[in-house]
């Protein structure tokens, strides 16, 4: 087990390293450089940047040094926590990151809080009672919710709950300080998709386990049905869904970007998007690195969880 964790960690570090090189290379390209130059020098856009000014700016900022040296310096700066300053908002990137991550973390926390029990229970119920009305209902609703893109769900929810019934505000910019009511719409949008997806996967895993010979053995041993489900079915059916939950951090991040932009929620996703549109390179760099870190971490957690839950892989 320890060997596996060590191996996974080294793999993770390798991927992080490769990702950072890739990112650095992307941001080192001409387009991005010009954007930074424009933002620093002031001006109306890349098109108006004169070639001379650009070359001067390049020389001044040490761009003639070889790629690896610059990469090394960049890496060194990063590990010391120097993330630079936001060009758009004039605050240190670190502050910006901290605030936005905090907001997104709150949203994410509530998503997981509701998603996990709801999805697992629904999926298990559907799987254990295959073919029943409950199962068909849950399956139908999950297919429906996983077929709607986040923006469509966001739209429909906004129209129904905010515009139509006026229960919640339509935008979540939190302009008057923090309010839970404004969190409802983005939370619901994310939940609807996630619960549908996870419930489907749980149902599929449960169906597979229910058909397994060892469940037959348990029943034919004369065990009460409650014991069969709680001890034999549950433990085996939840292996895959639990690992999926860990992996969902990655998928959730993508959805959060869309949802935050739609609802104007001041979180990590919106910050990333704004930085990209504006050309705020420092922020973008830091944000993408954090995103990759989260994704890699989620994969790592998921692998560890799978090994921990499945005795067959351990020994």
């Amino acid at each position: 087990m320890r060997g596996l964790i060590a191996r996974r960690l080294t793999q993770m570090l390798l991927i992080m390293l490769a990702a950072s090189v890739l990112l650095f290379a992307i941001f080192d390209t001409d387009q991005f450089r010009r954007k930074v130059a424009v933002a620093e020098l002031g001006g109306f856009g890349v098109a108006t940047l004169s070639e001379q000014d650009y070359q001067h700016w390049l020389a001044r900022n040490g761009f003639e040094r070889p790629f690896l040296t610059r990469y090394g310096m960049w890496l060194a700066r990063l590990t010391h926590g120097e993330l630079g300053e936001s060009l758009e908002k004039d605050v240190p990137v670190a502050t910006l990151l901290r605030e936005s991550i905090a907001h997104t973390a709150i949203l994410g926390f509530f998503v997981f809080l509701f998603m996990i029990p709801l999805a697992l229970v629904l999926g298990l119920l559907a799987g254990v009672n295959e073919g029943s009305l409950l199962d068909r209902g849950i399956s139908f609703v999950s297919v429906l919710t996983t077929s709607t893109p986040q923006i469509a769900t966001a739209v429909l929810l906004t129209v129904a709950l905010a515009l139509g019934l006026n229960w919640v505000p339509a935008k979540s910019a939190m302009l008057e300080g923090w309010s839970f009511r404004e969190l409802v719409l983005p939370l619901l949008t994310l939940l609807i998709y996630e619960v549908g997806y996870l419930a489907r996967m749980t149902r599929a895993a449960t169906l597979e386990v229910m058909a397994a010979p060892y469940v037959r053995t348990a029943v034919l041993k004369g065990l009460p049905w409650s014991r069969v489900v709680s001890r034999h079915v549950l433990r085996n059916a939840l292996i895959v869904p639990v690992t999926l939950v860990c992996q969902e951090l990655n998928g959730l991040l993508s959805q959060i970007v869309v949802v935050e932009v739609f609802f104007q929620y001041a979180g990590f996703g919106r910050m990333l998007f704004d930085a990209a549109s504006f050309g705020d390179i420092q922020v973008l760099q830091a944000a993408t690195l954090v995103a990759v870190l989260v994704a890699v971490l989620s994969q790592f957690l998921s692998d560890v969880a799978y090994v921990a839950l499945n005795p067959r892989v351990q020994f």
Binding site: Q11, A19, L144, L156, V159, A204, Q247, S254, V258, V292
Partner: protein
Amino acid sequence: MSTVLRTQGMVARALVRPGRWATLLVLLVWVPLIAYVMFRSALGGAASDVLLPAVPAVVGLYALGLARCRGSWVASVGLTLVCFWFLIAVAVPYLPLTDPDKPIAALALPGTTKHGVHFILGSDARGRDMLSRTLWGCQRVLVWGITATAAAYAVGVVLGLLGGYLGSWCDDVVSFIGNLLLSFPVMVLFILILNLLGQSGFNIVIAVTSSSAPMIMRIVRGLTLEAKNRDYIHAAQTRGEHPLWVMGVELLPNVRGPLIVDACLRLGYTTVAITTLTFLGLGLQPPDPDWGLMIKEGATAALLWKYSYLITIPALSVSSLILGFNMIADGMRELSGRS
């Protein structure tokens, strides 16, 4: 890792063999659509004629598909939804619609008549006919969606076969690249690539390929690894067949089944991606009608209950298309499970 295989929607062993007729019909639909959407300027006046053969082709595909999906009502309903939008996409130049780009009367409610034009679905903030924009909008989504998915498959299948069959260093390299790309959240990858390369349809294809191909590669690799140990592969190897032959002729036809189910799902994901990108302003450019764009424009215009049709109509349209894809996938899985 086996978790990933099971994660990919528990892909079923669908025994679906796309017949030769089906392939021909698909091409008859896809090629004209591509020509029309991507190369309209080059075609000039002949543009509208190009789509003529595609209309009966869609009907033919629908009939074929219905026959195949006979056992599952889920698949049949899904097929109907998808073919409906395809029919709209190929037939829209021949329908009596108002020009989707022409502003007539702003914010006309559905069912009202303004300036002598009857707006069945209302008009948007700039005065353009909603019905017309909605129907025209599905063309681009379908064309770019299918092209991007096809490209992702081409790359993913080849790499997956190579990695899975040849093993050793080839597998290590392919898997590493795949893991690297997969460690970027999809939206982040899209944002990066589209900012780097600029916004155009082709760049969307590249972005979608970069995010989807690794997943497809993993699935194909898993299927290849499993099929590699079958005795008929050993029989081919002990005949002295070349590895390329074994991969292409012996292996590939047998991994086709689960891939077709995955393809339907992936078409759904790609449609989501394209619509979302357009909504974020990163996708296909205005003024051509597009559902994501319509949602974006509608969401920034007056956010009032009485104008909610501006965003509801495109939202429902895109959802119905994706629902169609998902239902076909589910239905096929159900059918193969029964057989």
